[in-house]
Symmetry: C2
């Protein structure tokens, strides 16, 4: 089985990559640059993670139209990324409109072009509150749209859809045949070399490690 | 009401543009360059059509990942575009995988960014046989996906979904307050200045004009 997955280099998608490799899938990683503040650090992380797994460098998909035309504080064109927990109202400003729909559509077309049967997204339960295109109803509808658009050739998989970030991490650390290189991953939303430890994305990651009683192996600015 | 529509400069999308202007909608045209053989002529046509309607030049969305990575004879990277009627098996080679899904997803994210409530596609009945992402079941699922992805802010409209090209043309020529500039439109799939008159797209267009007993105002190579 051949799966194309969006590998951002974060904790979720890196675990997702390990999950499929552990199952024996052929994994084709792709990654997106869309003008997010953290893209350049993310892109470096995903290349390192792919190399660790013995995969070729992810196909880089440059979505400059998002950078130039879309409205979101996650983008370089937007206001500062808010700090604090994801449940805070302010994090809603980091929504990039229809981002997962756009990512999945492109990945689906690419998968069809290279005869891959599955595309996968690392969406998980912690994203549901803020991000409409991470919710189960959306993912279900997306799967139908992708299958209809590709005449049944490509389907959408999202194995972490009901996992918390802590559960993803626990599963990733227990994969029987694969080690996920968490020390190479990058989760922070900010435009700085060391992860901030304060944005919603960092806070959620640190909570996941704390939940398991494990020290996060990456360096933080604070 | 504000609608973002993909204006290719072809007969269908130009009529679609006139349809919304006639209804009093604010129309924001966008157009795609994705490495199709006919893109440069299409792009010129859509600018002319937009100008005729008094609209600003369409936002050009450059999807170079399709050009570089996707497989289709419609692309510059593919084999020659087949000639003859759309129902011929050979026309299936002109499918660009998940094209409408990708187009609609991007347009939906852009619409959400500029507070437009509707996105519209010029898909019609004549496309159903060959193109899976032009079929009613797909468009219905796409609408659900777009609405869920944007938290109900954006919906998909496809008023020509059950029209033949002849019916689109008849409707476009009878719009009460708007004239659709068919002499500026471009339908041919080939990489040449004058439309070929032989590819599936040209054949279907010529049949639509013949059905109405009207002469197609554009010049053909044959």
């Amino acid at each position: 089985m051949k799966v194309v997955l969006a590998l951002s280099g974060g904790l979720d998608s890196s675990t997702l990559c390990g999950y499929y490799l552990d199952k024996g899938y052929e994994v084709i990683p792709v990654t997106f640059n869309y003008g997010a503040k953290h893209n350049r650090y993310e892109n470096e992380a995903c290349i390192a993670v792919a190399r660790h797994f013995g995969l070729s460098a992810p196909v880089l998909l440059d979505l400059k139209f998002i950078r130039e035309l879309f409205r979101s504080d996650l983008l370089l064109s937007g206001s500062a990324v808010p700090e604090g927990h994801y449940t805070d109202q302010s994090m809603a400003a980091t929504v990039v409109p229809a981002r997962n729909l756009i990512f999945a559509s492109i990945v689906a077309g690419y998968a069809d072009s290279i005869d891959a049967e599955v595309i996968s997204l690392g969406v998980h339960g912690g994203d549901h509150h803020i991000y409409p295109d991470c919710r189960p109803a959306f993912v279900s509808s997306l799967n139908t749209s992708v299958m209809l658009a590709t005449d049944g050739k490509v389907r959408v998989d999202a194995p972490f859809l009901y996992y918390t970030k802590g559960e993803i991490l626990r599963m990733g650390m227990a994969l029987p045949t694969v080690r996920v290189p968490y020390e190479m991953t990058r989760t922070c939303y900010k435009d700085q070399l060391l992860s901030c430890g304060k944005c919603g994305s960092c806070v959620e990651r640190l909570e996941a490690f704390a939940e398991l009683g494990v020290t996060d192996p990456i360096k933080y600015a604070v």
